[in-house]
């Protein structure tokens, strides 16, 4: 995916101004449709990021991913964040505006997975691992991370 700036920058008297370009609305609309969440409700409090147990493995914080979704920045789909999310719903519980950020993460994952993309492969597992891993682990892993 090539990165296209979704906004025009201009330097005014007191800093940078961003004007959101309408053509990037489709990405945001798609996320809203797939996740069923009202992305605009997010006011960037950072509660989700502070409660998320996987932030050390992420390049973008969950609240940043939400901001990208609001601005229609498709680069969010290239983050490690959406794949490292463990769907623990800590973010959903903490959000003061009632947004289920985990749904937004899943929507982004689905947008990529549905392009015939597998994030992980069964081929990477040794026979010993396949024998010892409980079904709950393998099944949920494949559901979340493969097409």
């Amino acid at each position: 995916m090539s990165y296209v700036y979704p906004y025009e920058m201009s330097t005014g008297k007191s800093g940078l101004y961003f004007t959101f370009k309408p053509e990037n609305a489709s990405f945001k609309a798609k996320i809203e449709e797939l996740s069923g969440e009202n992305i605009d409700l997010c006011f960037q409090c950072g509660g989700c990021s502070s409660g998320c147990p996987l932030t050390e493995e992420m390049d973008l914080l969950p609240s940043t991913v939400m901001r990208y979704a609001q601005l229609g920045i498709e680069e969010a789909l290239e983050s490690t964040t959406i794949w490292v999310c463990s769907t623990c719903f800590n973010c959903e519980v903490r959000c003061p505006r009632g947004i289920d950020i985990a749904n937004v993460m899943e929507a982004m994952r689905q947008m990529v997975l549905r392009t015939k993309y597998d994030r992980v492969s069964l081929d990477d597992l040794t026979p010993e691992e396949l024998r010892e891993l409980p079904q709950i682990a393998i099944i949920s892993n494949l559901r979340k991370l493969t097409a």
């Binding site: 069964l122 597992l125 026979p127 396949l130 024998r131 891993l133 079904q135 393998i138 099944i139 494949l142 559901r143 493969t146």
Partner: protein, 226 residues
């Protein structure tokens, strides 16, 4: 067979008029097709003649065995002579008769959606989804018993949205069942011992000395003598 009881079928898009009471296989041969692949026992047992068909007016693509399914007017047919599924290599002596056998060699069964598409595709009326699920939870006996009628025709494998090959699972389960769970076939082993002990030697010697007519008579009356 009345000459005017004919139906129209399409084989790989080409139209043919064939007698109404023929099987797909016979109908295709009637129409001039020569089977080099996709035909075997012709008796519904080998699984070679997996066929996809659609009945007239229906949107559904269904599966059948060409040697068993009778043609219908408007039937639209294509064959699947071979399903290129991978059969994993394993040493049956080193595989445990539990869930690890399936998860180690066919971990893709974890992707089963319980959608039942496999069951719908099966020409043998097997509850395919149920036996894949039984394998996933390590119930080798249930998997073996439910998949008993499977003839590896491949129709389930080509339709599965999770890309599982159910018949490989059933096969592994039946092998594990007969080796580890069912136990040895005692009656066969006992009979072999009887043969080796010479129980039938005298009778065989006697029969070797008989002439053809007596042998024939003995054969034809065998059931009455029992």
């Amino acid at each position: 067979m009345e000459k005017n009881n004919m139906v129209t079928i399409h084989v790989m898009g080409k139209k043919h008029e064939v007698p109404a009471d023929l099987t797909i296989m016979k109908a295709m041969e009637y129409a001039g097709h020569q089977f080099r692949r996709g035909a075997g026992c012709r008796g519904g047992y080998c699984g070679a003649c997996a066929t996809i068909y659609r009945t007239h007016g229906s949107y559904k693509l269904q599966g059948a065995l060409a040697c068993q399914k009778i043609v219908e007017d408007g039937m639209y047919i294509a064959q699947i002579p071979f399903s290129p599924a991978e059969k994993k290599r394993y040493d049956i002596n080193e595989v445990r008769a539990d869930d690890t056998a399936f998860l180690e060699h066919y971990p893709e069964i974890a992707r089963c959606l319980s959608c039942n598409t496999c069951t719908k595709a099966c020409p043998q009326d097997i509850m395919v989804m149920d036996y894949v699920q039984a394998a996933l939870r390590g119930d080798v006996e249930e998997t073996a018993k439910l998949s008993f009628d499977c003839i590896n025709c491949g129709l389930c494998a080509i339709r599965c949205p999770a890309e599982i090959v159910p018949y490989n699972i059933g096969q592994l389960a039946r092998r594990l069942y007969s080796k580890y769970i069912d136990g040895p076939t005692e009656h066969v082993l006992d009979k072999v011992k009887e043969v080796e002990a010479g129980k039938f030697d005298a009778e065989i010697e006697e029969m070797k000395g008989l002439d053809r007519e007596t042998l024939q008579e003995r054969y034809e009356t065998r059931e009455k003598r029992l």
